[in-house]
């Protein structure tokens, strides 16, 4: 039965791989490769549950419409939401569509089409709080979640001025599930997403007041203005002849805002990327240097989070690792077996999975704050690796020295603490330093738990200014500033301990 299921998966997967080629053989028209994020889900882009190689959604239909107008065959390329611009800019796809927001920085970095959909940033709160949290300002001093690298995130950062704490997520499901269990007190996102979640989850109220208005656009590479202009023509035609209206009605997201938007666009008006922001909050600067200056404090803060998290997690991993190693060397058979099982489980499964289970999976039983969950996850995982280092080091201390200590009358505990332990620790020092540097970098994985550490903050920065160059270099410099002194310290200790005392 299992073999059959496996075979079925293989067959389906190879069909999925073959399908585009089959299309190409029949159809001689060139392709329009367009990038989107199927994790965004309906009504934007969703993998067809019956055929994962196919996607459905209003963005898929808009992409089809543009491709048809360009005389091309649409081909979907799956991409993480935050990387779509970069993918298009480097030419892996001609176009990007996936609820991509119009934004000043995006206009500066990419060739952006006219908007084809207007959305509202709306606040979702728990039903019980609907009376007291009506606007962002009501949430002063509270945590509010959203997707990282979006306009909503920028608005939340701006709302930091009156005490709102922005919490960044990688997807649009967990902000709402964390809202229900009280990890955040509000979620700011596009009305399309908010209404979809409010329908699917009981206990969520979407506040009627608009926090800001924004637009979805398609993006092309900065040098591909000609194709963008053709796409604009296609969109205008579809606005005029009602194609877009039919399309959005089909996906149940048509409303009066769109009619007004199309009217303004067809009259030749230009539409500002973002409008009606609550309380006139400060908004994303377009100049890269200005943005760098603005992001520098948060990058440094994030580097601090990375450093503190790594140091605490390493301390935990060392303590736990010593306990595990001692148990595996000295313990009775059942203890050894259990500890071996633990080590193999932690080493044999992805740390990302472990972090998800600890933060989201265990949330029903124990609701750890994100930082604590990250700390626990990293410490538990690294403890497995540390314990292997210590076990090896303990076993590398010559048995003769242990016997010499025993004949001198030392108890087994004294043999461990006075003779075996100190020598094992010195042997373990170099691999431990390696692991610490690795941990420093692995700590970037905890961003999936909404902890804003250095890599995540860099990603938000890069998405916001539409370039990885400056953020990437700053980020690398900060990591090196943390890891190089550490390596130097370890070399120093090793040298001191291996050198003659006199």
């Amino acid at each position: 039965m299992r073999a059959f299921a496996l075979a079925a998966v293989v067959v389906v997967a190879s069909l999925g791989l073959l399908a585009p080629h089959a299309v190409r053989d029949r159809d001689v028209r060139p392709e329009l490769r367009w990038a989107g994020d199927p994790e965004g889900g309906a009504p934007y882009v969703e993998a067809d549950p019956n055929d994962p190689a196919k996607v459905v959604g209003f963005d898929v239909e808009v992409a089809d419409l543009i491709a048809r107008g360009l005389g091309r065959v649409p081909r979907f390329i799956s991409a993480p939401f935050a990387s779509i611009d970069q993918l298009v800019a480097r030419g892996d796809a001609e176009a990007g569509l996936s609820g991509i927001e119009d934004a000043p920085a995006r206009r500066a970095a990419m060739a952006v089409t006219i908007p084809y959909y207007e959305f509202r940033e709306v606040l979702a709160v728990r039903g019980a709080d609907a009376g007291r949290y009506r606007t962002l300002r009501d949430l002063a001093g509270h945590r509010v979640g959203t997707l990282g690298g979006t306009m909503a995130y920028e608005i939340l950062l701006g709302a930091g001025a009156y005490g709102v704490q922005a919490v960044s997520y990688d997807d649009d499901v967990h902000p709402y599930s964390d809202l229900l269990i009280g990890r955040v007190d509000g979620v700011l996102l596009d009305n399309v997403l908010a209404e979809r979640r409010a329908r699917g989850m009981a206990g969520i109220t979407v506040q009627p007041k608009t926090v800001a208005t924004g637009h979805y656009v398609a993006v092309f590479a900065p040098g591909n203005v000609a194709m963008r202009d053709s796409a604009n023509e296609m969109l205008r035609t579809a606005m005029r002849d009602g194609t877009l209206e039919r399309l959005f009605r089909k996906w149940n997201v048509w409303n009066g805002d769109q009619a007004a938007l199309y009217e303004r666009l067809l009259a030749g008006e230009s539409v500002a990327p973002i409008a009606d922001v609550e309380g006139g909050l400060a908004f994303a600067p377009t100049n890269r240097w200005e943005a760098t200056r603005r992001y520098m404090p948060s990058l440094l803060r994030a580097a601090g989070v990375t450093l503190v998290l790594s140091c605490l997690a390493m301390a935990g991993a060392i303590l736990l690792g010593v306990a595990i190693a001692s148990g595996r060397v000295y313990g009775i058979a059942p203890v050894r077996l259990a500890l071996t099982g633990y080590v193999e489980l932690m080493r044999g499964t992805p740390i990302l999975l472990q972090l998800f289970v600890i933060y989201f999976g265990l949330a029903a039983a124990i609701r750890l704050p994100a930082f604590v969950a990250a700390l626990v996850g990293l410490a538990l995982n690294y403890a497995a690796y540390e314990s292997e280092i210590y076990r090896g080091a303990l076993q590398a201390v010559p048995v003769g020295q242990l016997e010499a200590a025993r004949t001198l009358g030392f108890s087994e505990a004294q043999v461990l603490t006075l003779v075996r332990g100190p020598q094992a620790f010195r042997l373990a020092l170099a691999p431990m330093t390696n692991d610490f540097v690795a941990l420093l970098k692995d700590s970037s994985l905890v961003s999936v738990l909404t902890v804003i550490e250095l890599t995540r903050q860099t990603q938000i920065f890069a998405t916001n200014i539409g370039s990885w160059m400056v953020p990437g270099m700053l980020c690398a410099a900060l990591y090196l500033a943390m890891s190089l002194p550490l390596a130097a310290l370890a070399r120093n200790l090793e040298r001191r301990w291996s050198a003659p005392t006199r």
């Binding site: 010559p398 003769g400 003659p500």
Partner: protein, 223 residues
């Protein structure tokens, strides 16, 4: 106290099909320098290890002062008591690699006998001086010559003052001149309160310095 300091009775020990001890019996009188002679593989080292409580045996008994070891594992309390009476200097010394010479010597007095650190160091330096290696007190074991390491190992064993001091092949890595020096040293260390049992196949050491000689062959003591 009178009577022998050590009595080994009918010791049997096999590892798999190999019989290492096949009924070894002997006793050692108080206050002498006894040489346990025999070819390689005759079981000398194993006998010493069994007396020091490092080797389990299948049958027989070992009695050191008032402590009796029998077949099967001795209790932790028995071993603790045994090691107040017996010291062992290993053929390859097994000094603690991470500690300088003086701490190799003072570690047990401080942590096992609860001596004050200053007093232990004072006594440690006296022992090192007595053995002629006081100038190496701050050196690490890996910086010592073979002869120096052996003397430090002897000092370490003497620091807890065992009435019965055993040494495994002490002359194996020494040249003729050094052997004579060692023989003289061991005789000097022997007295009312200390008995030394040495495993060796060095006939000269046995002839010139031992007060009694035991011979082993195929896991038995023959004389």
């Amino acid at each position: 106290m009178s009577g022998p300091i050590l009595e080994v009775r009918d010791l049997h020990l096999a590892r798999g099909v190999r019989r290492i001890l096949a009924g070894a019996s002997f006793s050692v009188a108080r206050g002498g320098l006894v040489a346990l002679m025999g070819p390689s593989g005759s079981g000398k080292t194993t006998v010493l290890r069994a007396i020091a409580g490092l080797e389990r045996f299948d049958a027989g008994s070992v009695v050191v002062e008032n402590v009796t070891l029998t077949a099967g594992g001795p209790s932790a309390a028995t071993l603790r008591e045994l090691r107040r009476h017996v010291g062992l200097v290993f053929q390859f010394h097994h000094l603690f690699d991470h500690l300088p010479v003086i701490q190799n010597v003072t570690l047990a007095p401080v942590h096992v006998r609860n001596m004050a650190v200053a007093a232990a160091e004072e006594r440690g330096r006296q022992l090192l001086a007595q053995l002629g290696v006081e100038h190496r007190a701050r050196a690490l074991p890996r910086e010592l010559s073979g002869g120096e390491a052996q003397r430090v190992a002897i000092a370490r064993a003497l620091a807890v003052d065992p009435p019965l001091l055993m040494m495994d092949e002490p002359t194996a890595s020494l040249d003729a001149g050094r052997r004579a020096e060692l023989g003289e040293l061991l005789r000097r260390l022997t007295g009312e309160r200390r008995t030394i049992l040495v495993s060796t196949h060095d006939e000269v050491l046995a002839r010139d310095w031992a007060t009694a000689v035991l011979r082993m062959q195929d896991g038995r003591v023959t004389t």
